[in-house]
Structures are given as structure tokens and as C-alpha cells.
Symmetry: C2
Subunit: 231 residues, 2 copies
């Protein structure tokens, strides 16, 4: 039986990705990898741990914060930038073709390489990650694009001595399609966390909160995580 | 003026690569990046620091040891494997097409991704690294191959939003060609360290000691680092 290592951030996309891997290979053949990179809060990694526990998969946490010591990305705890309270589309009108301010420099490249290294050590022949076309649109997050995923797949395949492949099941889907798949699989979305802010409840205003709300609305269901905070 | 970030291990290849970058862009536009990954000794990183000081370039050191916690690669301090005392050619006859035991899982992929992240934070548009065809031969180190470097270049270019390129000046050279170039540039090879063991002097028996000796012999000169230990 194959083994898969899944990049898990505790959000909607990677949790659905983990659910698919578990559905395909079974809990004992799946490992969830969560990377700490200096986020402003620990809600994401706490959610990733809860999700891994729910699915009874091995959970590995790695701290790569040092790599981003000199980055001023607005997601990082040491950044002087505020997290924008608007959609990615609105932000992209002001970035002159550059990624949005919440783009962490080559984050997915670093995370996937880290995952490939660990996959080799753990005997996994696949690395899964939940990038999708909404995030790549307009170059908001270039490390979510099909061109990046294809190149990274080749780099991991060749650089690992043809032992590890990259699987990006949602690279041609949008977030609504991911939620649709997740609802079919019974993903426990109430355990996930997407918001860039680390408040008591999701802010509802940042790019990822907006995207998440739209994805559930498109499926005609209430977001189970938001239901927890209903007044 | 462009800025370049150079992966620097303190060995012959990366030090020559650094010398080329400094020769092209000047000391103030070059940064040396050294990665600690759990090596059995600190000779390499000490050499990388000395070389950076010699060239008056900014020096960044990152510790990624945690990524290799579960690897049994023979270069790592926690490994139960001995470092083989033979050439890569001899070792490859026993590996059944797999990388040699001193292959650190997807190390160059991880290091290059880390370098791309830091390059974006530091305003560098190029990442340089000193991989060469001798190390890739027979799949000893698949993360030194042309196919890997090409794919990684595309991944870094696309994943960075087309802001960073990979430069691998020796990808079609052998180690003797690198030393030839370095001798022309006056590289201070007496400051470098290649040996996989961390003794008082290079062991002369491991794969990299053998390769290094041959590269200087091919150029008809004594290795300045070995001259230091002449009886």
C-alpha cells in the first residue's frame, strides 16, 4: 500500500485534501505535516492538530519561522503591515502584477520541499497539497498556480531519485468545488480555521474569510465553523 | 544592479560559485546562505563563515535540522549508518539505482526553496548554487542533476511571481572544471572544508575527499587545504 504525506494548515483546502488521502489510503498510511512559519496566531496549527486527531493520522509539526525572519509579509507576527480587509480581487488592483501582501515568500515551495524531505524519511511515495485555482488567480498567490505545481512535481520526482510524486487534487478546482467534495466526504469543517486574524472568532473581513464564506454559500450550506459563533 | 543569494556550504563547489557571483555583482550585492541540517560536525559551516568573511559578503545561517529528524542518512549526527570509505562509483554498484547513503533526502530542493524565500525577503533576483555533473552521475545525488535544476528553476520562477531565477553555473561541468575556474579567480581553497568526517584534518577516504583530490590533480596543482596538513 502507498503512503501519503499531506500538507495540513488546518484550513478548508488542506483538510479536504487530507480527507481525500485518508479515504484513498486509510489512516495508517497517511501523515499530516503542519508547518509553523511565524504566523500572527496559533489558531491554524491548533486546528491542524485537531483535524489530524479526528482522522487518527500521524501528525508532524515543523517550525520554519527562521526562514522568514527578514520578510515583511503581513501574515507574520513581526510584520509592520496590516492584513488587508478586502477581497484578493480588490487587492490585486493595487499590486502592479505582484503577489498580495499576505503572500509569504515562496512558502508553498518551501513547505513542499520540506514535505518531500520528510516523505523520503517516512517511506511515503506521495506528497499531497490543497492548492486551487482561486488562490492562483491574478497571481495573488503564484505558488498555488498550475505552472508552479507542475514544475515542483518534476523537481520533487527528479530530485528524490524518482521516489516521490506530488499530488494536487484541486489544482484545477475552485474553493466551492473543494467544499462540495468535502461535504460528500463528511469533512468536520467545524474543526478548521481559515481567518488570517487570530481572534476569538473569524473576522469575516480578510481575504480568506471572504473566500470561505462564498465557497459555502455556493454550496447552499451554512459554514459549520461560523455556526459555532452564531449569536 | 542585480543581487544574488548564493548557497554556501564551505566546500569547493559552492565557494567557487560564490567567487563567481562576487566577481559578477560585487561583494555588496551578494549574500551567502549556509544551512545547518544536522551534520556530524560543524567544520563545513565554520568554513562557509570564513569564506563569507574573506569575500566581505553578508552571511546568513539557517538551521533546518528538524526536517531530517527521522532520516537515517549517514551524514547526520543521529544516524546509525557509517559514512562509506569509497568512491561514489563503487557505492553505486550496491544501491540498486537508489541514491548513495550520504544523500540527504531532497536536501538541495529544501535548501533552494529556503534560498528562494530568503532571496525574496532580501531583494535578490537570483539564487546561485554549485551543483555539478560528477555528483549527479549514476544518480548518486539526484538533486544535483540537470533535470532537477531545470524543474527547480521553473518552480522558483513561477512560484515567486517571476521575481527570482536559479543560476547553476557548473551544472554541465565536472569538479575539475570548477577547480580550474576557481584557480583563475584566486579562490582561497585553504579556507574550505569538504570531508564528510569532522576530524582535525580531512580523512582522505570518503567520497568527497576522493573527488576533491582528483579535481586538484587534474589541474596539476596541490590542494591548498591539504598543504596545511603536510607532514
Amino acid at each position: 500500500m502507498k503512503k501519503a504525506l499531506v500538507l495540513s494548515s488546518g484550513g478548508v483546502d488542506s483538510t479536504t485534501c487530507l480527507a481525500m488521502a485518508v479515504s484513498e489510503y486509510g489512516s495508517s498510511n497517511v501523515i499530516a505535516l503542519s508547518v509553523i512559519y511565524g504566523q500572527k496566531h496559533s489558531k491554524e496549527t491548533e486546528a491542524a492538530k485537531k483535524v489530524a486527531d479526528y482522522y487518527h493520522v500521524k501528525f508532524i509539526e515543523i517550525d520554519l519561522t527562521a526562514v522568514f525572519a527578514d520578510s515583511n509579509c503581513s501574515l507574520l507576527s513581526h510584520s509592520t503591515e496590516e492584513i488587508p480587509e478586502e477581497s484578493y480581487d480588490s487587492q490585486l488592483k493595487k499590486t502592479d502584477g505582484k503577489p498580495v501582501s499576505t503572500y509569504v515568500p515562496f512558502r508553498n515551495g518551501l513547505f513542499l520541499s520540506c514535505a518531500a524531505s520528510i516523505a523520503l524519511s517516512e517511506g511515503c511515495s506521495e506528497v499531497w497539497y490543497g492548492a486551487h485555482m482561486d488562490d492562483a488567480a491574478g497571481s495573488a498567490y503564484p505558488d498555488c498556480s498550475q505552472a508552479f505545481a507542475d514544475a515542483m512535481n518534476t523537481a520533487i520526482w527528479e530530485g528524490s531519485g524518482r521516489q516521490v510524486k506530488l499530488t494536487a487534487p484541486f489544482i484545477a478546482s475552485n474553493k466551492a468545488g473543494i467544499v462540495k467534495k468535502g461535504l460528500e466526504l463528511g469533512v468536520p469543517y467545524e474543526l478548521t480555521w481559515s481567518c488570517y486574524e487570530g481572534g476569538d472568532r473569524p473576522c469575516g473581513k480578510c481575504g480568506t474569510c471572504i473566500d470561505r464564506r462564498k465557497a459555502f454559500e455556493a454550496n447552499g450550506v451554512e459554514d459549520p465553523a461560523m455556526a459555532l459563533y452564531r449569536d
